[in-house]
């Protein structure tokens, strides 16, 4: 073979390997949206959290759904908290993924465009297990709280310092598996539920001491505070009902706010317009709008 022939062949080989490769296909998902947490955005739209599929924005008038965050990778989301503000809503999502002998937990902050703007994480091993649960934002102090379902304790983290590890804030005496969390700002306390034992506890923000408030509540899975009416709404998942209790009087009795035949697995609560209540049903993949008298007004199917 001549010298030029060798050169030509080498050049051809080089050109062949410089060809660009076509992108490879990616698999897609199928089922409907199972709401495990709900929130109202500053725009009046509803934000729905599905543990696996991600975050979705729903127009409550038309029922139109659009994806804000498509899935969380290997993580399964546990709860969401939203702090509406004029500069844009702050959206926090707690999530975890089982690892050998433990759990990798994190809280991710998203903006209204669905872009991650901060992350706080930690890892729990067998002796100190972690399962992130309920979330609450204290916008005034720029901090947020997240429960560890497996300890049971509440962790606090600084919203101005992403990347830091949440620090243990309080341990809930007499609790086992913590779930929902809400900030009762008027009384400077956190309300935290134990869906396993069916109890609600209060944690004083100053003393960090916990106190049992209510028991025998079935499976309290979501909380919502009506600040105007000083009431706490509780989604009882296994009781298939929504409970309500006054917060001003320690002796307040827990009453059933709504028990509808369409409730199968109520997991999420949020206020709608005119004091109506949105209830997210995980099993049925629906949102149900309930009047202040506990009457079903309409449903939005998410399947």
């Amino acid at each position: 073979m001549s010298e030029t022939g060798v050169m030509r062949r080498a050049a051809r080989l080089l050109a062949a390997c410089l060809l660009l490769v076509q992108p490879l296909p990616v698999s897609a998902k199928g089922p409907g949206i199972s709401p495990i947490a709900l929130a109202t955005l500053g725009s009046g739209e509803l934000l729905v959290l599905d543990s696996r599929r991600g975050l979705f924005v729903i127009d409550p008038r038309s029922g139109q759904v659009r994806a804000l965050v498509s899935g969380f990778g290997a993580f399964g989301a546990a709860d969401m908290a939203v702090s509406p503000s004029s500069q844009g809503d702050t959206i926090l999502v707690s999530m975890g993924v089982p690892q050998p002998q433990g759990m990798l937990a994190r809280v991710v902050r998203y903006n209204r465009a669905g872009k991650s703007t901060g992350e706080w994480g930690w890892f729990g091993l067998g002796s100190e297990p972690v399962q992130p649960g309920g979330l609450a934002i204290d916008a005034q102090r720029s901090v947020a709280y997240v429960v560890n379902s497996r300890r049971p304790s509440v962790y606090r983290f600084d919203l101005n310092r992403p990347g830091t590890r949440p620090a243990e804030f309080a341990t809930i005496r007499g609790a086992k598996n913590l779930g929902p969390l809400v900030l009762d700002a008027k009384r400077s306390r956190l309300l935290v539920g134990d869906p396993f034992l069916g109890t609600v506890h209060a944690v004083d923000l100053a003393s960090r001491k916990s106190q049992l408030l209510f028991r025998g509540l079935g499976e309290p899975y979501a909380f919502l505070i009506d600040t105007a009416g000083d009431r706490l709404f509780i989604a009882d998942a296994s009781g298939e009902r929504v409970l309500v209790v006054g917060l001003t009087d320690k002796a307040s009795a827990v009453t059933t706010f709504a028990k509808l035949s369409k409730f199968s697995d109520p997991h999420a609560l949020a206020f709608g317009a005119d004091g109506n209540l949105w209830v997210g049903d995980e099993d049925e993949e629906t949102l149900l709008l309930v009047s202040p008298k506990g009457v079903l007004l309409r449903t939005i199917s998410l399947d």
Partner: protein, 383 residues
């Protein structure tokens, strides 16, 4: 002595009571389960009397436990993981057997793990109370959030070699289900986003479209999944200009989401070490190109007669190829190394191969002398 009138009224009273009061709903409790490494604790959250059972005992996903007067069912498809709380929820049903009193009842039962153990099917002892208190067993799956990993792949001892330039290479992945009583479902595959020098895809061997598949208890799925590695132009640049003096090693990563039936999805990171190597004939082309370049140098600086250039090139080319072959043998098979002027050269990389050729090209006439000595054929002596 008992009066006949009184016994008659008691008897009528009992008939009246049975007629006017509805059959009582049943009560159920489940015993905690001890397993090696931990414990699973059950708690009945609530019950609800039903007119009829909403499940059929013959369904595959329904487990049955029986006592002399009652039957207890568990609908395995209704098992759920409570993400807020970190426990599992079960739905159980109980009904009296024909001719036994009682009403069908639905129970919500929650279960929580302590310690670290594999997900498994266990026989759970239960107590059911209606008119009588009876005991039985029902098979239920139990889970642990702090479980040891139950899906694994044997890591590669040696990096997989991918030849460049090349179109694609398929590398089979071996997966092992460590659970002895439950299958493991591979539910999705997530590709690594870091694909700067290659396009990779972990996929089913027989299809580009992923579909969920199961690995039976204590079984191996050998080659159901393959890594498809398609290097791009940057990979070739990396081979030409390696960042380190060691043989260039890359890693290809993908993630498998997997779960036991009704369990919590977990993720397995699969890391495949890859070494991009030039296609062997390309190495000899590099040697040839290096030899040609090297043989020009003495001619250009006037140390070699132009008329003898081609013969000198032929000799040095031959020797260059022999040196490259020997170097490949030393490094590849005998785990030795090649050094020229104190520099370690990897004959499996393009630039070192070119350098070997270049050196031989420089030596051209001496190579010719060498060839002449070993070949008695009529080879003309150079000036």
């Amino acid at each position: 002595m008992q009066r006949p009138g009184l016994s008659c009224s008691v008897f009528l009273g009992l008939i009246f009571a049975a007629w006017s009061f509805p059959a009582a709903s049943l009560e159920l409790s489940l015993e905690d389960v001890q397993v090696p490494g931990g414990e699973f604790r059950f708690q009945v959250k609530g019950s609800e009397p039903l007119d009829a059972l909403p499940i059929r005992s013959q369904d595959e996903h329904v487990q049955l436990g029986s006592t002399p007067h009652y039957r207890v069912f568990a609908d395995l498809n209704e098992i759920k993981f409570a993400t807020r709380g970190g426990y599992f929820r079960y739905e159980l049903y109980a009904e009296p057997k024909p001719s036994s009193p009682g009403q069908p009842t639905r129970f919500v039962v929650v279960g929580d793990s302590v310690g670290s153990f594999f997900a498994q099917m266990v026989e759970v002892e239960f107590q059911i109370s209606g008119d009588a208190v009876e005991y039985g067993k029902i098979a239920l799956p139990i889970f642990c959030l702090e479980s040891p990993r139950y899906l694994e792949y044997p890591p590669w001892a040696e990096p997989e070699e991918v030849e460049l330039p090349g179109s694609r290479k398929e590398i089979p992945v071996r997966l092992k289900n460590l659970l002895t009583k439950l299958p493991v479902s591979i539910t999705s595959i997530r590709q690594s986003s870091e694909q700067d020098i290659w396009k990779t895809q972990l996929r089913l061997r027989d299809s580009d479209q992923f579909r969920e598949f199961e690995i039976n208890p204590a079984s191996v799925a050998d080659g159901v999944l393959v890594f498809e590695v398609v290097p791009n132009s940057r990979a070739f640049t990396r081979v030409l200009f390696p960042r380190t003096r060691k043989r260039q090693l890359e890693t290809v990563t993908a993630y498998l989401d997997y779960s036991t039936p009704w369990g919590v999805p977990q993720s397995l990171e699969i890391v495949l070490p890859v070494r991009f190597v030039p296609w062997p004939p390309l190495l000899f082309i590099a040697v040839a190109l290096g030899t040609i370049a090297g043989s020009f140098v003495p001619v250009l600086v006037g140390r070699r007669d132009r008329s003898q250039w081609l013969r000198a090139l032929a000799a040095s080319l031959l020797i260059g190829i022999v040196v490259e072959l020997v170097a490949m043998l030393l490094v590849g098979k005998l785990d030795s190394e090649v050094r020229i002027l104190g520099f370690k050269l990897d004959p499996f990389e393009l630039i070192p191969a070119t350098l070997i050729g270049f050196s031989m090209g420089l030596l051209g006439f001496r190579s010719y002398d060498f060839v002449r000595k070993i070949l008695p054929a009529p080879v003309e002596k150079p000036d």
